[in-house]
């Protein structure tokens, strides 16, 4: 079963398409990783399927329903997005920041109801942020802030979680803990679609992989199908070797 289906989908900026005529099926309750070199269109694709960028052609369907036929608030209740960078202008507390994830469930003007408040507390606990709940988001580390962003998305109880490079610029500890977190989210029945740069993390965590190259899908399949030396070397324009160690695939730049 697929949660998100793209058909003949193109998107980009004022008639300069970045992603052109692609078809994709993102399986539900699985962790799907989007790989591709810088400028291959990963971010545009993610913006397209989250209604930030209007498609130039084609459709995106969420459970067989065109995403533009779903009212915005309902859509954001079902699909949450963790973007690569957000502006932080005021020192909200981690708790208040995560509570904002309840926005799609709130009426026009209402206090955080007790049900929402429970969910926010539970999410903070699950993501290990309870200890920071009353600290300002300007006073926590990059790794903790990344977790807070994910917690905020989770607080909205979405079916689908879309993340744009959530482990970029983090240390190994946070990279692993965030990827474990995403795996846990998947096991709880949610669909996770995440763009990554790290091929080894993709190999280790992905159920399914899409490899994007110059706005087109160069390959897709299970990690061992996509993470192959010829495909990767061609797409990244760099010789890449693929090895297996204790049953895990990993990649390295091949000797020149």
């Amino acid at each position: 079963m697929s949660a998100l289906t793209l058909e003949n989908f193109s998107c980009g900026y004022s008639s300069t398409p970045v992603v052109t005529h692609i078809d994709m099926c993102i399986p539900s309750s699985r962790l799907t990783v989007l790989l591709g070199p810088n400028g291959s269109g990963k971010t545009s694709l993610l913006r397209g399927i989250t209604r930030i960028l209007k498609p130039l052609s084609g459709t995106v369907e969420l459970d067989n329903q065109n995403i533009y036929n779903i009212p915005l608030k309902q859509f954001s209740r079902r699909l949450a997005r963790v973007s690569q960078s957000i502006e932080v202008n005021w020192p909200y507390t981690v708790h208040d920041f995560v509570a904002m994830g309840r926005y799609p469930h709130r009426r026009f003007f209402s206090k955080l109801d007790s049900h929402s408040a429970e969910i926010v507390d539970a999410t903070l606990k699950e993501t290990g942020l309870s200890a920071f709940a009353h600290r300002s988001i300007t006073r926590i580390s990059g790794g903790e802030f990344q977790r807070a962003k994910i917690a905020r998305a989770l607080a909205g109880e979405p079916e689908v979680l879309v993340l744009d490079e959530p482990i970029a610029h983090l240390d190994l500890h946070y990279q692993v803990s965030i990827m474990n977190e995403l795996q846990r989210i998947c096991k709880s029945g949610k669909t996770v679609f995440v763009s990554l740069h790290d091929l080894n993390f993709a190999a280790r965590y992905a159920d399914y992989v899409y490899l994007l190259s110059e706005g087109q899908i160069a390959a897709h399949g299970t990690p061992d199908q996509v993470i192959a030396p010829d495909t990767l070397s061609a797409v990244f324009k760099t010789p890449i070797s693929v090895h297996t160690l204790e049953g895990h695939i990993f990649t390295m730049p091949a000797n020149p």
Binding site: S14, R47, T50, R51, I52, L72, K73, F75, S76, R77, A80, R81, S83, I86, E87, V88, N89, W90, P91, Y92, T93, D96, M100, G101, Y103, P104, R106, F108, F109, G156
Partner: protein, 334 residues
Amino acid sequence: MKYPILIFFVAVLLILAMWLSMSVGSVNLDPGNLIRSLISSSHQKDDPVRTILIRLRLPRVVLSALAGCALGLSGAAFQGIFRNPLADPYIIGASSGASLGATIATVYGFSLGASASLSAAAFTGSILTVALVFVFARGNEHNPPVVSLLLAGIAVSSFISSLVTFILFLHSEDLYTVFFWLLGSFTSSDYSDVMVLFITTLFGFGFLLLLSYSLDLLSFGDESAASSGVPVGLVRTMTIITATVITASAVSVCGVIAFAGLIAPHISRLFIGPRHSRLFLLSSLVGGLLLVASDIIARTLLYPRELPVGIITSLLGAPFFLYLLYARNGAEQR
């Protein structure tokens, strides 16, 4: 301090300041006797103390408090929507437009002396100017909407300010009148001003409260807010319209009072953090307190001469703001 206690505390301070403000002036009244004079002498219609209080002092004090509330509120709204701590109620031209309206009304005389039509002209000028800024900002697709609005606001404001200067250069006989109006004052206050400002501020407060939660999400950028389901364009337009109407009503009755609308939200955030639902109420009260206090100083400092209140808010407000800026930089570097 807990939020309700803090609100109560500031509200009590505001009422005390208004009380004090009622008792000072050309006739100093005993603060203890104020209430008795207001209530008990109702059968003595021509009691001079009562006349001073009801005709002169009360509208003035209430107006200064309301103007402060209006500026504190719209300052918080503009800082929120522009995600910019340096934004103030005048950032996209509400004040320069009001100045132009007031200047035209004063110089070209179709309203000479009548304060009601002076405020009407100022109000119209203010609203039209912001509308103009909106039109120009809309045509620009290369910048994010917030940046376009700020840039168009700066350009339109400086154009209109020059126009004001130009008109005053041609009609220097009116320079003094307009100059003092621009500095801000509560001297020509009556109950109709109070009513207008009360109604716009109250309704504006209600509207902004409805938008407050969306403004929290918008502070993380348009795109982030949109992906949480915030109708970004609608919220932005509604906020700016509401804040502009509030600002325009305040400016049109008391002139361009500097700094209060910039500082009140900052002071408030220090105590209760950035959440807009709380910020709007506290910032209003702090704004009111600032202006009532400034008005007391303006009336007593050089007694019997009265200073324009805008001078006091700038003289006290600017150093205070610099202090905040300095303290904040220190905190960031730590």
